[in-house]
């Protein structure tokens, strides 16, 4: 019988220094894609040489919401759907910070849907990473706003009959400056996309289609997580700049991935400063960044 190897004196896993290792192993199911996105995120942080003292992660509630609890960075685990308002406040109070919102499709598009579209409209300088597992996973697999048609869920035993949100289309229409979609199969591309996002100013959005083997794939007889990854490999098509109204997801149709939108728009802070300076003149004193003592 063969035994697993564990080589001593190996260099540390690059992700290790970003984790609260006392909380490992995490509670995500075997094959859940969230851990893979965290790998890509940490690789992107290392490669883009982001100052970790000027970075904070804000998460809402849900499986993906737990990322804030597992990464050893300045992180906030906020109430359900309120990751974006919290992050907006954080960004306005400390404009030099890079604020990343790391949350799921249910938290960002259902409970926090209104906040998301208004942050995109104002073009607040936030980096939003949305792990889309197509269902409300933490509460038991109910129909969510991103669940495609004809899918069995806990609340739709005969299949869903209401159309899903097309997340990139919605976010682009609301005014985001950077919109991309990848699946957990596209790890290198996802890490590169995250690096691009860190450099961009304004509301950036990356959707990561991720397997939920326990609740979504199992109920729909789509196999385990590995089968889902093979499925992603088979059906995804890279189409950079594809019109976002054509990239909606379906149960077994093709998944169009790539960078859909990369445009320039003045962000909220720039607009606010320019306007207040123009209307108040010398009376306007910009707020100073708070200092830690």
């Amino acid at each position: 019988m063969s035994t697993p190897i564990c080589i001593q004196k190996a260099p540390e896993n690059p992700v290790e220094s970003f984790l609260r290792t006392d909380r490992m192993p995490h509670i995500w199911c075997p094959g859940c894609g969230i851990g893979t996105t965290v790998n890509c995120f940490t690789r992107a942080l290392i490669d883009s040489k982001t100052d970790l003292n000027k970075l904070s992660i804000v998460s809402g509630i849900g499986c993906t919401g737990r990322v804030a609890g597992y990464v050893n960075l300045d992180s906030f685990h906020t109430t359900h759907g309120r990751a974006i308002p919290f992050a907006t406040g954080l960004k306005l109070a400390s404009p030099e910070m890079t604020v990343v919102v790391y949350s799921g499709d249910g938290d960002l598009f259902a409970i926090g849907g209104n906040h998301l579209i208004h942050a995109a409209r104002r073009n607040v300088d936030l980096k939003v990473i949305c792990v889309n597992n197509l269902t409300y996973a933490m509460t038991g697999g109910q129909t969510g706003p991103a669940t495609p048609l004809d899918v069995i869920t806990a609340t739709a035993p005969y299949g869903t009959y209401d159309p899903a949100f097309n997340l990139p289309y919605l976010v682009e229409a609301a005014g985001a400056v950077y919109v991309a979609r990848w699946t957990t199969f596209h790890v290198k591309q996802l890490a590169k996309s995250m690096q691009e996002m860190f450099k961009k100013k304004g509301f950036c959005f990356i959707e990561v289609v991720s397997p939920c083997p326990t609740l979504y794939q199992r109920r729909n007889k789509m196999g385990d997580a590995l089968d889902t990854m093979k499925f992603y490999k088979e059906v995804s098509k890279v189409k950079h700049g594809a019109p976002t109204n054509e990239v909606g997801l379906s149960k077994s149709g093709e998944i169009i991935v790539g960078k859909f939108v990369d445009r320039e728009r003045p962000d909220f802070e720039t607009m606010m400063k320019a306007h207040l300076e123009a209307s108040l003149g010398e009376k306007y004193i910009p707020a100073e960044a708070p200092t830690c003592s």
Binding site: S2, C6, N13, V15, P30, G33, G35, N39, M229
Partner: protein, 86 residues
């Protein structure tokens, strides 16, 4: 002589099989052994073929495995990785 090697934290593994499936040089296989949670962690069946590309490390959702290239200064390693990415 293998260019790289993998390091596995057996106790974190949940045996999803991503590393085994997506290793470009098919270095890994799930072993017969169990960890304390009852999962079969991977082991290197073709260690000579490992290039240390760290794709397993990027896929692993449980942060249990990563690839590395031993005996090289970090700067040279990074430069080589960059070259490969191009």
């Amino acid at each position: 002589m293998a260019r790289g090697s993998v390091s596995i934290v057996v106790e974190r593994c949940k045996a999803c099989g991503f590393c085994v499936e997506f290793c470009p040089s098919k270095v890994l296989a799930l072993s017969d052994a169990f960890n304390s949670k009852g999962y079969h962690p991977p082991h290197a069946v073709n260690p000579d073929k490992c290039s240390g590309c760290d794709l397993c490390g990027m896929y692993c959702p449980d942060f249990a495995i990563h690839g590395y290239r031993p005996g090289k200064p970090e700067a040279a390693d990074a430069a080589e990785k960059e070259k490969e990415a191009e």
